[in-house]
């Protein structure tokens, strides 16, 4: 149990609570993600994948139910503690707005370390640079982020998500905006990080290709997890 990176118990999420247009999007999600797991989250558009991911990533709170990150109960934490836990335990990769364009590639990767504070300068620099080197992007380190191609930017974004050596990386359609080749590159990179460091990944995707490359597939339909072994719905 303690080895679970992520555990959800009866998580529900409604929007516009208390108003006439109140709608429940997630209807009691029970889900566990073990350490080192590499999972895909699939499902039709509007099924609540991003909503679920935002809750898992502590960007949003569930309307009811419990969420545990590395064994920590999160419902009682205030905004400050949630932010701290998010910074340390979770890395994000988004589909759009991959990097902050005002910063260089290296600064983007270092940003979570700078935000966290307390790391010696040399450590921060080395860790960020090692990540860029591993991704073959070191020659871009001092370029502004928007000078990089989409695929390069997304790889830098993955590097940034890994900078804090989080237990879990949540990626919301990380390859949705990329051509097939770049998409494969980014996906392979995430697989390799997972293999080498044991970081858990949960990747939201519409691509069956990517879903097949994952160790586990979680399917969300109409705000509910389709039980494992059930016939996957055609997307």
């Amino acid at each position: 149990m303690a080895d679970d990176v992520l555990r959800l118990e009866k998580v529900r999420k409604s929007y516009n609570v208390g108003r006439p247009n109140e709608t429940e999007i997630l209807h009691g999600i029970d889900l566990t993600l073990g350490r080192g797991e590499f999972a895909a989250l699939i499902g039709p558009s509007g099924s609540g994948k991003s909503t679920l991911l935002n809750i898992m990533g502590l960007l949003d709170r569930p309307t009811s139910g419990n969420l545990f990150i590395e064994g920590h109960e999160t419902g009682s934490l205030d905004d400050r503690d949630l932010t701290r836990l998010r910074g340390r335990s979770i890395g994000f990769v988004f589909q759009h707005h991959l990097l902050i364009t005002a910063f260089t590639a290296l600064e983007n990767v270092m940003m979570p370390l700078l935000v966290e504070r307390g790391f010696p300068d040399a450590t921060m620099k080395k860790r960020a640079l090692d990540l860029l080197v591993a991704l073959g992007l070191e020659q871009w380190q001092n370029h502004p982020a928007n000078a990089l191609s989409g695929g390069q930017q997304q790889r830098v974004a993955v590097a940034r998500a890994l900078a804090m050596e989080p237990a879990l990386v949540l990626a919301d359609e990380p390859t949705g905006n990329l051509d097939t080749k770049s998409a494969e590159g980014v996906f392979e990179m995430m697989r390799e990080v997972n293999r080498k460091s044991g970081t858990s990944f949960l990747i939201v995707t519409h691509s069956l290709e990517i879903a097949r490359g994952c160790d586990r597939t979680i399917e969300l339909v109409d705000g509910q997890i389709v039980p494992a072994g059930a016939v996957p719905a055609a997307d």
Partner: protein
């Protein structure tokens, strides 16, 4: 590699740099505002210093004179010293009683810098056929020159004042047609001084003074005014010119004499100065206000433009407080950089003004007063204004819902 600044500073600097045009325009706007404030402040300081200097060139900060009303005995500092002031019989020129004792008391007062006795009265200056009504000022040169800087304002001769010498103003010299080395006679009532030699001619920058005042040794004035051993006033210089009225009010009961501060005797001048300060203060306030509104509006737009960046930063573990500070720092930097550029512009403008706007005779209209404290104040004020102006946008940024910002 250089050391990394705290994260908020890096983000603030990079955001400003990426903002290019926006940043450039708002800093220019702030600079212009600060330049106006610096220019006006320095000009006003110069103007006031100039006027004050002119007024004080021939006048002591505080003058003690005999009281008009019935005086009563007065105790000073417990039982040690008792100065009895008894009303004197009416006479043409009245002396201050016990003035030597009074002088000693005043010299020991912490607010007082210099004390000098003066015997003054009216007389006629006679030179051949020409006569002119004058005000005799009988002085002890050593102490008096610490109050009125006559030696600094001598245009001909020296301020030597031995018993048969006299120093007169430029206007009087012209009227009587005399120069250094010439003689003139003073008569007051039935008394006359005998021939006095003009040893110096002064220009105190004030036409009336140059025309009416003549300086003679104290003894000469005393005998001419039938005031042997007496003085008509005690003149004081104090440490803080602008505290003159307060000090005068304090000295009055203490000395039993009537104390007049230069502020009270120049009340009109002071109300003019005050009106000037007030109007310029109002103008500066509104300039500062528009600077603040400018900074606020630019940052509000920036927060909206950067909402996705803010969302990413929040997802990466940036706290609300850090987000708040990123924008407060931007406000502070805009204010500070604007202040530096604006101060340079204002000082430059002042130099140009000083060089090109002159009096008819080519002398400076207003002295150039560029105090470091003005620039420090401008920088502090602009930085503070920037921070305050950034408050609303920064709060807005810190309250952005990262989910909404990222979905954007």
């Amino acid at each position: 590699m250089n050391r990394w600044l705290p994260f908020e500073w890096i983000a603030a600097l990079r955001f400003l740099r990426e903002g290019r045009m926006q940043t450039l325009f708002i800093i220019s706007g702030v600079s212009v505002g600060i330049a106006v404030i610096v220019f006006m402040s320095a000009l006003l300081t110069g103007l006031q210093a100039n006027l004050t200097k002119r007024v004080l060139s021939a006048q002591a900060h505080i003058t003690l004179q005999p009281r008009d009303e019935v005086a009563r005995p007065l105790r000073l500092g417990g039982k040690d010293l008792e100065l009895a002031i008894v009303q004197m019989p009416l006479q043409r020129v009245r002396s201050i009683d016990q003035w030597q004792a009074l002088m000693r008391v005043l010299q020991d007062d912490p607010a007082v810098v210099a004390v000098s006795p003066v015997a003054a009265g009216s007389a006629l200056a006679v030179r051949g056929d020409a006569t002119r009504a004058v005000s005799i000022v009988g002085i002890e040169p050593d102490s008096y020159f610490r109050i009125v800087r006559l030696p600094d304002n001598i245009v001909a001769g020296t301020v030597r004042l031995s018993s048969r010498d006299i120093v007169i103003g430029t206007e009087l010299a012209r009227y009587l047609g005399i120069g250094v080395g010439d003689r003139l006679t003073l008569t007051a009532g039935a008394r006359t001084s005998g021939a006095l030699t003009v040893t110096g001619i002064f220009d105190l920058g004030n036409r009336q003074v140059n025309e009416r005042y003549v300086y003679v040794p104290l003894r000469t004035a005393q005998s001419l005014l039938d005031l042997i051993g007496g003085v008509t006033s005690i003149e004081l210089t104090i440490a803080d010119v602008y505290a003159a009225e307060t000090v005068a009010r304090r000295l009055q009961p203490m000395t039993g004499a009537a104390a007049y501060s230069w502020i009270a005797t120049n009340a009109q001048f002071f109300s003019a100065v005050q009106a000037q300060s007030l109007s310029s203060g109002v103008i500066r306030l509104f300039v500062a206000l528009s600077v603040a509104l400018g900074i606020a509006s630019v940052l509000v737009v920036s927060v909206i433009q950067r909402s996705k960046d803010i969302g990413i930063l929040r997802a990466m573990g940036t706290s609300r407080g850090q987000t708040l500070r990123i924008f407060l720092i931007q406000g502070a930097l805009i204010g500070l950089i604007g202040a530096v550029v604006g101060s340079a512009l204002g000082a430059g403008g002042l130099l140009v003004f000083h060089d090109h706007v002159r009096q008819a005779d080519g002398s400076e209209l207003i002295p150039l007063v560029l105090e470091r404290s003005l620039f420090v104040a401008a920088a502090l004020l602009a930085t503070l204004t920037g921070v305050l102006a950034a408050m609303a946008p920064a709060l807005r940024a810190s309250r952005l819902d990262p989910v909404v910002a990222i979905r954007g």
